[in-house]
Symmetry: C2
Subunit: 360 residues, 2 copies
């Protein structure tokens, strides 16, 4: 087998999260950190120096010029959500494959416009939901898919909260209506919704209802909210996402025969190994004074951090397309479903916490 | 200090759970297993033999005759909920202190009738919620009460489910409308509601909304349901209770500064030691690739099983009353609040999952 050239990735913007992705691109064996663009070329240059870009990496003072570079295969877009539509569509038109931070768009309509551009250019679209790429996620999915160990899914609860500091709550793009207007729902809530869909084999719920009492800032941006999701077969899910509570990242999925717990699903406690616990047909001893059997803890070792595995997967798909394959539809499909439920939760909040039917 | 005579406890009925309580009474240093009554004296006798009653324990063929025994100080009542009103009121009138299985009544109105009888006789009322008496519960409460380690409570999620077998779903009293008409809500849901109130310092929520899609059997008894609870200050809680899902017993309480997780809150995995985990100001490392600090696990050793600690506490209160003290109001107060929220969830289900205001 011939040694393939690494996929050359450019980064649009110098967001905090782009530092982590720069490292991930460096760590990924099939990707190269090839360019960075900022509206300020000095900022781009400083970013490249601070984040281990190789000496030949290109530095651009505008996003357009990076997109016009024929030597860039793909772009990572960590821009504020309100800018995704413009830049993702333009990138697709310039035939750049897209690794796009979540939420992909401000709503499904934006998502679909991006998707059209991607489809018509034949480029790959993948969102930046890193935890999907951790081998732990695969191991947990094996458990959830096992009729003997887990049975049929009955309910899921997911939570992602973190206690934003006063500066974040005043200045972060995620609390600005013109930048990331979906606030905690678009940020932390995206992960909760994704985890619920993931547990439900990406079958969208029939109905979504936001829980009353969503916390909004003075501009109407969501700082904390929750919702329940309901499927026709009786499955249900709840989630809570917040910028106002201590860091928590739970998925609890309960089936007819088994239970899954994970408490650091978005970002594992440690980079090299990650845990989850499962119980199967857990029950009580004869006098109901203890559990038999008890749940057990599992550890999953990973060769690369989850974000580098994401880049590796993305670059593999881009490489395959360069060799004649079609883009992998799985990733945009699960992105779109996530965005669809996000829309439904937002609509339910806007309609006074009333049920919203999900039209897929 | 004089050695006090142990509190003489009689058991009304030979329910499965009464076996566990018989052992708990035996283990409690200040209580004596003094009598058992069943509608069948043979059944009562067999129960006494099988559950280590001392030779001098009284065996009765009717509940009335046990209640008429002047040598019995207190009764433990594990009868079906629909019988609580009658027997608890009669027991109180006969001046027997009451350790009453949950749910105390079928609704708050029944609860209040029992409470009136208890108050007018000056006897102690305590419900059989065992986990309240585990030293782990106190340790967890210390954490939740700590402004530095936990901050202000923002949200709680509780879950108690178990996978009932076909025989249970057909024949258990908890699926019979004339016996335990509240089904999974009165049984597993009681614990969830109690845990939420416990985490909220027993401040009742303002509004309760059942989640759509409660599962009912053909007689209309709840087999699975959920609800969200909402306080005026923005605190919220959700719970899920079920007879249809694998055994799971979670409390997750999240504050502004801390997070509590426990996964076996109703009945600990093991009798002698129990676990919970806490995180305080958990956050990320510099590149957001891991947690600093990570949550930590705590172990609590107990001298006696939680149900024996419950009996010991109950017998202590009864002993104090015999020595001139007043009944301890704390226990009926938290029981009543639990019953009140249970009523609200039931009302919300009956009203098509619409919000119910809690009037305390």
């Amino acid at each position: 087998m011939a040694v393939e050239a690494p996929i050359r990735i450019g980064i649009l913007g110098c967001a905090e999260i782009a530092r982590k992705l720069s490292r991930a691109i460096s760590l990924s064996p099939n990707a190269a950190l090839s360019a960075v663009a900022s509206r300020s070329i000095d900022k781009a240059r400083a970013f490249a120096v601070a984040n281990g870009f190789p000496p030949h990496a290109k530095i651009y003072g505008s996003y357009e010029s990076l997109l016009d570079d024929p030597d860039i295969d793909a772009v990572y877009v960590p821009l504020p959500t309100s800018l995704h539509l413009h830049w993702a569509v333009l990138a697709a038109k310039k035939s750049k494959h897209l690794l796009l931070e979540k939420p992909v768009g401000l709503n499904v309509s934006e998502f679909d416009t991006i998707l059209e551009a991607v489809d018509s250019s034949g480029v790959q679209l993948m969102d930046g939901t890193m935890w999907m790429h951790h081998p732990r996620t695969l191991a947990m999915k094996d458990f959830l898919s096992d009729a003997d160990r887990f049975g049929q899914l009955k309910t899921v609860h997911a939570c992602f909260s973190f206690a934003a500091d006063p500066d974040f709550l005043k200045n972060d793009i995620r609390v600005k209506p013109d930048l990331d207007g979906l606030g905690a729902l678009g940020d932390a809530g995206w992960y909760c919704i994704r985890s619920i869909l993931w547990a439900a084999n990406f079958e969208p719920p029939k109905t979504v209802i936001a829980l009353p009492g969503a916390a909004l800032n003075e501009s109407g941006v969501i700082l904390a909210c929750g919702a329940s999701l309901h499927w026709e077969d009786g499955k249900s899910a709840t989630f809570h996402c917040s910028f106002l509570s201590n860091l928590t990242m739970d998925i609890t999925a309960i089936g007819t025969k088994g239970t899954l717990h994970v408490n650091d699903f978005v970002i594992p406690y440690q980079e090299k190994e990650a845990y989850f616990s499962t119980g199967t047909e857990t029950g009580f001893n004869e006098l109901v004074t203890g559990w038999v059997p008890q749940p057990s803890k599992h550890v999953v070792i990973t060769d690369l951090p989850q974000e580098a595995r994401m880049v590796r997967e993305f670059a593999n798909l881009v490489g395959a397309i360069k060799n004649g394959s079609k883009p992998e539809k799985k990733w945009p499909i699960i992105s779109r479903k996530t965005q669809l439920i996000l829309d439904a939760v937002k609509a339910s909040i806007d309609k006074g916490f009333t049920p919203v039917e999900v039209v897929y």
